[in-house]
Symmetry: C2
């Protein structure tokens, strides 16, 4: 096939957008293709003109999700602000664009290798954004791993907890400690 028309591209991206939203909120298996298509204002059958399987959509969704998440801006990122927005209750409750690293971590772990490769790409991108912003001391790399675990872990755990008081304490704790990590590393 030669080139997809511009209209088809737009439809395709609408489907992916819906997929990111729904997969993040409910997990891969709890979302039917019909649900995604309905959200994109289409019906079941049209799906296969864009993707060859649900799995393929999952891969595209993870990869593209990063573009709409708080990590979007590749250029100048205020890491301290990123930290605050990421570990925010609004992110946990998906009132801002969900980061698939946090929302789909254990879900991805149960999928085939291709999906995990997509996740790993996104994760490396995340680490690179942190690296770009901060000094490159030897312990810097280590601190960025820690920062990523803190952020992703904090949000992932928060989503699974039923007690909002604990959620807020956890998020605050991670935020404060993350900030201390940043100060340390810039001195």
């Amino acid at each position: 096939m030669p080139w997809p028309t511009e209209q088809k591209q737009r439809t395709r991206e609408r489907i992916i957008e819906s997929a990111v939203k729904l997969f993040s909120a409910q997990g891969f298996d709890n979302v039917a293709i019909t649900d995604v298509m309905k959200d994109a204002q289409l019906t079941n059958g049209a799906f296969y003109a864009h993707f060859k399987s649900k799995q393929e959509l999952y891969r595209k969704a993870i990869t593209s999700a990063i573009k709409n998440s708080a990590l979007a801006q590749d250029q100048e990122v205020d890491v301290s602000k990123l930290l605050a927005d990421y570990l925010d209750i609004n992110h946990v409750q998906q009132k801002t664009a969900p980061c698939p690293l946090a929302f789909l971590a254990t879900d991805v772990a149960t999928r085939e290798k291709e999906v995990q490769i997509a996740y790993t790409d996104v994760y490396n991108n995340f680490i690179n954004i942190l690296n770009k912003q901060l000094s490159h001391s030897l312990s810097r790399k280590r601190q960025n791993y820690v920062l990523s675990a803190l952020m992703i872990g904090g949000v992932a755990i928060s989503r699974a907890l039923s007690d909002e008081k604990i959620v807020l304490e956890l998020l605050d704790a991670c935020k404060e400690y993350g900030d201390e990590l940043l100060v340390e590393s810039n001195s």
Copy 2:
């Protein structure tokens, strides 16, 4: 119903054990009741003599998993050793008993409230174990939240990554930082 026989109890626990193992490895939706029963050396139909639904099994599995995980010993826990065992590649690869907090975090987030309440109970238990071992300064509580996010997040992310080199770096980074947190808090 009066009392379940001892034999029935044992069978029930075998089913739960299988469930913990399989749910952790593959996620709730990717494991059929038949799979669990087969692993427990039984067949499909016998399941409903023990549980009223798959959901109920999930709750029991999460709650009971903690007993077999690295967090088992309620009494004297060497937190530094716990940290090392938890953030170990063998735990990630499920060669030791999996901690449901790390293995099922985003999975639980997509289930109904009862499952999340079970998860929250286990999480509180985790935090309490940390609290019991360490001094009770004001910042102590904060540090335990951070420690939990580091451990659970580190393992959860590791499971989703396809690049083992990065996994080992991430685990090491979390381990080292976790240890520094412990030292800080005991001085």
